[in-house]
């Protein structure tokens, strides 16, 4: 029996049906009606929720409306990693509702409420997404928020029904009293629950009661809108009267605006204005053409005649930087870690290798080039963006517009990829959009402005994964034991510091905390701050380069010992190391102990292995490669075992690991190269990313774990390139120490 007209609250109907139901039920709700119709598949931001959706708001993360619809507020960006669904899964678990019934909306900018709970433990109080932290942070925060909401709704139900709260249960989104058989949806109780005090210390569900956490059949909430073109990204936004800005940047980086002849651009019908935005320490100079549509703005941009002033402008050059770094690593750097005393030669009967690894600048190259929609008004500013780093972006827009940060309202949209790019420490492209809007306003242009970078602007926008040189001297004793590891890393910092003694943890991760046991370890950092190429974290950050250097050298050492590379690794790991579990699992998957089937005559086939812990997640991979007579090669299969603690969404973990592997495979072939201040790459023809024909078959296995969950967006990346390169060495004896490798191995 039911005492409510909302007994269908817990059904699996999608969210739009819910809103339509609410329209039928409350015909007076005109606001709700308008919003529902206008919803499309744009993510609705928290500030835009209809009033009745926020009627029960026990904390920053959970809302329940009068129809019982649960809204989860995400302080994180959905950029493909599945975070919205992960958050909904945690909330659905505690509230005992269906995951598919939950609406996820992005938070407003509010660092005090929505700071990243993992970062804050590292002394970094900012609202943002990155470092594979969302599920690790939400595991406590979101579950507690949802459990608190549930406790309050149950307390309200107990009052309404005048029964002991202890006997009430929740089944599929309905409060249920087994003694009377009464049931009613949460919506019935929100009005009263909203008046109750918020309890503290509410316990979350015990793991044995998990219903949706770990359920392979849970589907991503964002998928339906992403298969029919209705998902809305920044690029898709159009406001009434909006202008599109396409930007000219100098070919020679950091060149200043000399003279601009905009007459041809302004003569194009539809071009409204040309604005100049001189560069500053953070962003390059730009000249923007504002027009009614993207094509006209682009044509206008191409019609600009600009004399760029290069006098006294730095001319960063990849080869010069690499040469300088190689020299630096021969000298003395800042000691980051020192344990025991590293050796400078091999003991009798032992071996020493000194290896230098060169890795280039890399561009993130998400499919959606950087863009930002901004509407600057007298009393404030609205910004629509794949908003990954609220705190920095809000501050940058405030600075560029002269507004108080509280007047800068950020609206998060789906991001067409990011891989770190949209969390820029300098808020570079957001800042550029704000500076364009401010300059346009001075010319009397008050329209909303959508700044869109062309692919070439994105590729040449710098903010790259840093170019690095690693120099490692590793020593084996006569018994083949690794006894000394002396590691220099040269590279730039994302956020340069004036403190010459500051150890850059992001540059040295996976080095200072080397997984393998070695009695004598020294790590030195070389961290020049005078290179005019701003750099930025990229998916898996320091592990993108340190993983390659460490895991390929370990393989080389195993070969010197004539030892199996798996056995060599296992012998150097502490008995409790979680690397062991993933290594053994991946070896089983790949049939490591049995020979690999041979290929066509003339080809050579081999396996390579690598393991890496990053962001608290342990990943081991085995790559199978075929090398052809012309020294070209294919990556045929990759096996991957992952230990990321408790698995919240198994299906999503698997796809994220596949994604990381695809990202890591691109490292074999891509580089951004600067020559005398000019970036040589521009688009996908000269900055290749993995395509379908390069994607190996990938098998992913998840380690069953009861440890708290850790991230999965990044940790798939680091082992891939070293596993492939180790396989190529096993096939040919050719050791690759410089990336990119290109399409073919170079015989020694």
């Amino acid at each position: 029996m039911t005492d409510s007209s909302h007994s269908d609250t817990g059904s699996v109907a999608p969210i739009l049906d819910k809103l339509q139901l609410s329209r039928r039920t409350f015909l007076g709700g005109a606001t709700a009606l308008t919003l529902a119709v206008g919803l499309g598949s744009r993510v609705v931001n928290a500030a835009e929720l209809p009033a009745d959706a926020t009627s029960f708001a026990p904390n920053g993360f959970i809302r329940v409306d009068a129809q019982g619809v649960v809204t989860v507020i995400s302080s994180y960006l959905e950029m493909g990693q599945g975070t919205f669904t992960g958050l909904a899964t945690l909330a659905a678990e505690e509230l005992d509702v269906d995951v598919a019934s939950i609406r996820v909306v992005p938070a407003a900018a509010d660092t005090a409420l929505y700071f990243n709970p993992v970062w804050v433990k590292r002394g970094w109080k900012v609202q943002g997404t990155g470092g594979s932290t969302a599920m690790a942070g939400a595991w406590g925060q979101m579950r507690e928020a949802a459990a608190t909401a549930r406790a309050m709704l149950l307390a309200a139900a107990a009052q309404v029904w005048n029964v002991d709260v202890a006997r009430l249960k929740v089944e599929n989104g309905e409060v249920f009293d087994p003694a009377t058989g009464r049931r009613a949806g949460y919506g019935r109780f929100v009005a009263l629950a909203a008046k109750l005090p918020v309890p503290s210390g509410v316990e979350v569900k015990s793991a044995d009661a998990f219903r949706v956490i770990g359920d392979r059949t849970v589907q991503r909430l964002d998928v339906p809108a992403k298969v029919n073109g209705t998902a809305v990204y920044t690029q898709d936004m159009k406001l009434p009267g909006m202008l599109v800005a396409v930007v000219a940047h100098p070919a020679r980086v950091w060149a200043k605006i000399g003279e601009v002849d905009a007459s041809a651009a302004l003569a194009i019908p539809g071009v409204v204005a040309v604005v100049q935005v001189p560069g500053n320490d953070d962003v390059q100079s730009a000249v923007a053409v504002l027009a009614a549509n993207t094509w006209t703005a682009r044509k206008g941009r191409d019609a600009l005649k600009i004399r760029w002033d290069t006098e006294g402008v730095a001319a960063p050059d990849s080869q010069q930087i690499t040469d300088r770094f190689i020299k630096l690593t021969q000298g003395t750097g800042l000691t980051a870690v020192e344990r025991g005393e590293v050796l400078s030669k091999a003991p009798t009967g032992g071996h020493m290798i000194e290896a230098v690894y060169e890795q280039p600048y890399l561009a993130h190259a998400p499919m959606e080039p950087m863009n930002c929609l901004i509407h600057l008004q007298d009393d404030g500013c609205d910004v629509w963006n794949g908003e990954q780093w609220y705190t920095a972006d809000q501050a940058a827009v405030a600075k560029a517009t002269g507004l108080d940060p509280s007047k800068v309202r950020l609206h998060q949209l789906y991001a067409g990829g990011s891989f770190g790019r949209r969390a820029n420490p300098r808020a570079d492209f957001v800042q550029e959009a704000a500076r364009i809007a401010a300059a346009a306003r001075k010319q009397g242009v008050n329209a909303p402005i959508k700044m869109v970078w062309m692919r070439e602007d994105d590729t040449r926008g710098m903010q790259y994964r840093p170019l690095t040189v690693h120099r490692i001297r590793a020593v084996l004793d006569a018994s083949g034991k690794l006894v000394s590891w002396h590691h220099h890393v040269a590279g730039q910092s994302f956020t340069p510091s004036n403190d010459p003694k500051k150890v850059d943890a992001a540059l040295l991760e996976g080095v200072t905390n080397l997984a393998y046991e070695v009695p004598n370890l020294k790590v030195e950092q070389h961290n020049p701050e005078d290179i005019a190429v701003p750099v930025q974290w990229m998916r898996s950050v320091g592990h993108t380069h340190s993983g390659f250097a460490v895991e390929t050298l370990i393989d080389e050492l195993a070969a010197l010992n004539a030892q199996d590379p798996l056995a060599f690794r296992l012998a150097m790991l502490k008995p409790a190391a979680r690397e062991i579990g993933v290594l053994q699992r991946v070896a089983d998957m790949a049939g490591w102990s049995s020979p690999l089937a041979s290929g066509a005559p003339g080809t050579r086939r081999a396996r390579g292995i690598a393991v890496r812990q990053s962001f608290g997640t342990y990943v081991a991979q085995v790559a199978e490669v075929t090398v052809y007579p012309d020294h070209s090669f294919s990556v045929d299969r990759i096996f991957c075992a992952v230990d990321c603690g408790w698995v919240i969404n198994p299906n999503n973990v698997e796809t994220q690991l596949q994604s990381g592997i695809g990202f890591g495979l691109s490292f074999l072939r891509q580089a951004i190269v600067l020559k005398q201040g000019e970036i040589q790459q521009s688009n996908f023809h000269d900055y290749p990313v993995l395509r379908m024909n390069g994607m190996p078959r990938v098998e992913v296995a998840l380690i069953d774990s009861r440890d708290p969950p850790t991230g999965i967006g990044e940790p798939g990346v680091p082992p891939t390139a070293p596993a492939v390169v180790n396989a190529l060495a096993a096939a040919t004896g050719i050791r690759v120490r410089r990336l990119p490798l290109g399409d073919q191995l170079t015989p020694a």
Binding site: Q81, V223, G229, W295, G416, G417, Q658, F663, M692
Partner: protein, 153 residues
Amino acid sequence: MLELKINSQVHQFSGDPEMPLLWYLRDELAMTGTKFGCGLALCGACTVHVDGVPTRSCMTPVSVVAGREVTTIEAAERVRVGQALQAAWVAEQVPQCGYCQSGQIMSAMALLVAKPGPTDADIDSAMSGNICRCATYQRIRSAIHKAAQVLSA
């Protein structure tokens, strides 16, 4: 004045005939399912069909498609092969960021029309013009096979 037929609807176009179809679709017709990725026909995010042939709309001037039949992702669900692919994309949980997926589905539609039972090699050759930076390729492959099976049943 050009006459354009997009998803069976006729539009009169009087703007710049050099405007790529992509920008007309997105900026003028608000059909934003077709995406901008590279502007040089290198990534496939802008793939539409022109008389059934998969075409990169970012490099195709509006004037070229006058009098021809343009189909975009917005109309994919009107045909059986589009429905099957979209259902398979959901079943295999293909999209991550999702930005490239309209173009992927449009390329896959053309493939299945030409080759109802594609091999992996057929898929590689038909789909390698469409970049997915999230590297959802393995699931795209599975979803195409799945849709092919459903369509042949």
